[in-house]
């Protein structure tokens, strides 16, 4: 603190000294510094030494321009030193030096032009130049042109970032000048792009601006839209007649959708063109302030529960002159009718705004197309999640006809298995590779146990199967809660699944969603292979179609049922690992998916894997589509989707792909 105070004191002293010196310098009575000994930059600086030492944003502009115009090689170094507050002025002769701290209170002085050390000075013989942020901004702008052609690539990148952050009209010329000599192809492209954006906004020639706007109208970048939007920014105004000298965007009618009657009147009031309109609340407070012996304006207070009586009382008060005249609806209408309301562009040139509007429209169309694509990708990835969740169900429910309400809990068990494995094996890639077979094993075992202990006794009693498996479901959910607690557990995906595949500024898809999509495809293939090409698949299909006949052909239906059920449950476990990767693992994870999974199977058509695929696609795209129509509300999206499904089942009660003939069962 004391150090700081000391510094302040020195600074204040320094300012006084400077002022005195400046006065002396202008008097021409002071001994002029010997021009012969001064470097060229020092000479330039000394011409405005006072203004440089006490730089302000309003006065420093021309001086910086003069410094830059000298085209001396040492200018960039000086400017950056100035910006970093490394330039000091020697009190005795007013010369500027770049000073670095030597030791204690002495500073080494470096000559501005040659960069060589010219001596040392104690701190109290020097005054530091402390440009404020406004001046530093101007210095930075001046520096950009040097940085743009700096040999160091990083400096050039920094300069471009600075331009992007604070674009301005004066940056256009240096940027343009630096483009032809740019050696790096990537940077050259970037410079050209920024040059186009700056041209759109700041070029003096309207034709050049329009050319730039039209050239960029096929670009989807956010920066292009950010550069175009200010060009078409409008301002709402009201006037008695339409002014001539404005770039009119459109006229507004009060009471229309864009400008409500009330808002229009508020504009009038704000512009001082009309008296304020008393609201009901203001009316009431005015009345309550003028109660006189139980009457307001001659109207008894008890009658004031009637709005008309209030108006009468207020009119009486206004006639007596104690309150302003009541602005009636007719007054409002008259005031609105006698004024014009319009929006005008801040940009004066109509040709530029027209071109910018056209470009924005073109971009909007292209963005729309890309957003539709993005939505499609979203829908596909959601569909693959539903498909993963439902594929096990397609086996147990679709093929075997067993309603397993605990299916969601098998998904949850798989996800928790993945979580536990990650606690043991810290490497994410290895742990996922271990977790997938382990999750399959755990849920396969659970499924087999459940089939042997419970479901076996309930074949042909589907409603009771539903209830019994539901009992298992709540027991498993609560067990998970007791073991892992209620808070969400993370299942972290390996590093190589982080990030997203970026097509352009609108279209991107995260790798994890691609992975889930691929996983869904693998499972589809696996399922088809198992069912059509293996002994187990053959036996399963036989038992599904006719258990007795299958038994008489030497197939053990009990064993086949057990294995099939275990297989369906095991797949649910693997789906759990996949779902856990992108959603938090909680004990309710499965319950969140169970209704959708059943919907997927029912909508698609029971007993057919392609049906489940179609069902998942339909439900996924439907949900995304409704979310897109009503983006603020995912709850509503789910509601409408379920209603849609209920109605859909009216028309295709057996799903999209209905089994025909004997395979259909009943």
């Amino acid at each position: 603190m004391s150090k700081f105070l000391h510094a302040c004191r020195i600074l204040i002293c320094g300012v006084f000294v400077l002022l005195a010196q400046a006065a002396l310098a202008q008097d021409d009575t002071a001994p002029d510094p010997q021009p012969g000994q001064l470097g060229p930059l020092q000479t330039v600086l000394q011409q405005d030494a006072a203004l440089i030492a006490k730089a302000s944003r309003t006065t420093i502009g021309p001086i910086i321009d003069a410094i830059v115009a000298s085209e001396l090689p040492s200018v960039p170094h000086f400017l950056s030193a100035w910006q970093n507050k490394d330039v000091w002025q020697r009190a005795e002769d007013g010369l500027f030096f770049v000073a670095t701290k030597a030791d204690g209170k002495t500073y080494r002085l470096l000559d501005l032009d040659t960069g060589t050390e010219v001596g040392t000075a104690a701190k109290d013989e020097l005054d530091q130049l402390k440009p404020n942020s406004g001046v530093r901004g101007l210095i930075a702008t001046a520096l950009v042109q040097f940085q743009l052609s700096d040999p160091n690539r990083d400096t050039r990148v920094e300069a471009l970032v600075a331009i992007e952050r604070r674009p301005g009209p004066d940056l256009l010329t240096p940027l343009r000048a630096s483009i032809p000599a740019e050696p790096d192809a990537e940077l050259k492209a970037r410079k050209t792009r920024i040059e186009r954006l700056l041209t759109m906004a700041y070029d003096a020639d309207p034709a050049a601006r329009i050319d730039a706007i039209e050239a960029m109208s096929t670009d989807l970048g956010v920066d292009v839209r950010a550069a175009l939007n200010p060009l078409v920014a409008t301002q709402r105004q009201v006037a008695q007649t339409l002014p001539e000298d404005i770039n009119l965007a459109r006229e507004l009618t009060p009471g229309s959708e864009d400008l409500s009657r009330d808002a229009a009147y508020v504009m009038l009031v704000d512009a001082g063109l009309a008296p304020p309109h008393q609201s009901a609340a203001e009316l009431k407070s005015q009345l309550s302030q003028h109660i006189d012996a139980g009457r307001v304006g001659g109207v008894p207070v008890a009658q004031l529960s009637n709005p008309e009586a209030r108006v009468t009382a207020y009119a009486a008060l206004a006639a007596a002159g104690v309150v302003p005249q009541l602005v009636t609806e007719a007054d409002v209408d008259a005031a609105l009718a006698s004024h014009v309301f319009f929006e005008s562009y801040a940009e004066k040139d109509p040709a530029v705004t027209a071109a910018a509007n056209a470009a924005l429209a073109t971009i909007a169309t292209r963005v729309g197309v890309n957003q539709a694509l993005d939505l499609g990708l979203d829908a596909i990835s959601l569909a693959s999640i539903y498909f993963l969740a439902a594929i096990g169900l397609a086996i147990t429910f679709g093929l075997m006809g067993v309603i397993n309400m605990a299916h969601g809990e098998f998904i949850m068990m798989g996800a928790y298995t993945g979580y536990v494995v990650q606690q043991v094996i810290p490497n994410h890639t290895v742990s996922i590779l271990v977790a997938i077979p382990l999750a399959f094993a755990v849920t396969f075992a659970a499924g087999v146990a459940m089939e042997r202990l419970v479901i076996r006794h309930l074949y042909h009693r589907p409603l009771e199967t539903l209830l019994a498996t539901f009992g298992i479901s709540i027991a498993l959910q609560q067990l998970a809660k007791n073991i892992f607690g209620t808070q969400a557990r993370p299942l972290t995906s390996p590093g190589w699944l982080d990030g997203a595949l970026v097509m352009n500024d609108v279209l991107a898809i995260s790798y994890i969603r691609i992975a889930i999509f691929v996983l869904a495809l693998i499972f589809l293939g696996l399922f088809l292979f198992l069912m059509k090409r293996t002994r187990l698949g053959l036996e399963t299909r036989a038992v599904t179609q006719n258990p007795r006949m299958a038994a008489s052909m030497g197939i053990n239906p009990g064993r086949v049922n057990m294995l099939t059920f275990g297989l369906g449950s095991g797949i649910a476990g693997i789906a759990g690992v996949a779902i856990g990767l992108y959603a938090k693992v909680t004990s309710e994870l499965g319950a969140d998916y169970i209704v959708q999974s059943f919907m997927t199977v029912v909508v698609g058509g029971v007993g057919n894997i392609w049906g489940a695929l179609l069902g998942a696609t339909m439900i996924g795209s439907l949900q995304k589509g409704i979310e897109w129509l009503n983006p603020s509300n995912t709850l509503a999206a789910q509601t409408y989707m379920i209603i849609f499904i209920i109605i859909f089942i009216q028309f295709r009660p057996r799903g999209i792909i209905a089994l025909k003939g004997r395979a259909a069962g009943d």
């Binding site: 009431k284 109660i291 207070v301 019994a468 009992g471 709540i474 609560q478 067990l479 209920i646």
Partner: protein, 388 residues
């Protein structure tokens, strides 16, 4: 001459007598009118349990007698609660707002009162306008009518759609579950007009009633007992006649009943709507005792618990549903309310709050597997004993 339906089935009389005796005993023991052994909160629990018994009867009618496992009847129960809750909340807020505005210098206009009520009720969801569905909320009679009409119409439309396209069995169960899920998700939105996930609250205060809660709770207890008795009688009557025979026929072999020329869909639809209305009445009596209703109440899990009660009690007999609902819900309250003592096993302390659900789930599996007739089955055993 056929005997009246009560004469055919003496269990109805026995049940009604038991209910009357129970009501009388509770009244004598209660704080409000009796010697004060039972606290007001326990009276409320009992009253709520009676309402749950009533909705269990509705569930038993549709599942136990007609074989339709509806997993959506708690939606109707909740809707009934919402309908009466709208009036309770509106009327009570109206009194509060009027009292507040009467403090001012100038008497309020009708519009100011309505605006005041609107901002009081919908302030929590960032609005002050009354949604269209509240248009009848100022009238008790109309809102009471809506308790029956709204769930009834929903059941009628949903049932017509579902039965018409011959959705049956587990598909219907999943569809009803989807219906209640859709309704719950819809109500969870703030702009659903029913205060989103805040629900309707303060329902235990009857507008304009100054009697203490100990007395009001007794009124509701009696009303619930009366409704349960009446619901039991109506249900017993419905299943005793020809209508009941057709309904049971549908349960046992739907195709055969259809081939005999009965319009199966109409019968199912009538029963579905009737049970929805019974559930709604039960809900309308339940939520003023609970004091608050929110969309979580009608989540799919609630309707599944309803099926659990009926299954444990023994479906296909009305008193079984009542027993199951009363037994399971009271035991649940006891275990989850933290009243059951924890068991310290030395290495692990069994907390019933955590383990009750596990026990419920497992016992449910065991009942389904080994005692499909539920608790009601015990009475059959007794009968067989006495006969032999």
């Amino acid at each position: 001459m056929r005997k009246s339906f009560i004469g055919q089935n003496p269990s109805i009389l026995i049940f009604l007598l038991c209910l009357a005796a129970f009501t009388l005993a509770v009244s004598l023991l209660a704080e409000g009118f009796g010697i004060g052994v039972l606290s007001t909160s326990f009276i409320k629990t009992l009253g709520k349990t009676l309402c749950l018994c009533l909705v269990a009867i509705a569930m038993d009618l549709i599942w136990g007698y007609c074989g339709i496992l509806s997993l959506g009847h708690f939606a109707f129960f909740g809707l009934g609660g919402y309908m009466i809750g709208m009036w309770l909340m509106y009327a009570r807020t109206e009194i509060i707002v009027q009292n507040a505005l009467a403090q001012g210098d100038i008497p309020p206009t009708a519009q100011e009162v309505i605006d005041g009520i609107g901002s009081q009720i919908f302030g929590v969801v960032g609005s002050s306008d009354f949604p269209v569905i509240w248009v009848f909320a100022d009238s008790l009679v109309l809102q009471l009518l809506l308790v029956l009409v709204v769930p009834g119409v929903l059941a009628l439309v949903f049932g017509w759609l579902a039965f018409r396209s011959r959705v049956a069995g587990v598909y219907l169960s999943i569809l009803t579950q989807a219906m209640t899920l859709a309704l719950a998700l819809y109500l969870f939105q703030n702009d659903s007009g029913l205060r989103g996930n805040n629900g309707l609250s303060g329902l235990q205060n009857l507008p304009g009633v100054t009697a203490p809660q100990s007395v009001v709770s007794m009124w509701f207890f009696w009303a619930s007992a009366l409704a349960l008795g009446a619901g039991y009688l109506v249900s017993a009557w419905v299943i005793s006649g020809k209508f009941g025979s057709v309904i049971r026929g549908i349960r046992d072999n739907e195709a055969r009943v259809r081939f005999l020329g009965y319009p199966v869909e109409t019968f199912k639809l009538m029963l579905f709507t009737l049970t929805a209305m019974i559930a709604a009445i039960a809900g309308a009596l339940y939520y003023p005792q609970a004091g608050i209703i929110n969309p979580a109440e009608i989540a799919p899990i609630a309707s599944i618990y309803l099926a659990v009660w009926v299954a444990i009690g023994g479906r296909g007999r009305l008193y079984g549903a009542v027993l199951g609902a009363a037994f399971v819900s009271l035991v649940s309250t006891w275990f989850t309310g933290g009243q059951a003592p924890d068991i310290n096993l030395g290495f692990y302390t069994v907390q019933w709050v955590d383990w009750w659900q596990v026990i419920l789930g497992i016992s449910f599996v065991l009942v389904t597997l080994f005692a499909p007739k539920g608790i009601g089955g015990l009475f059959d055993l007794l009968k067989r004993e006495s006969r032999s």
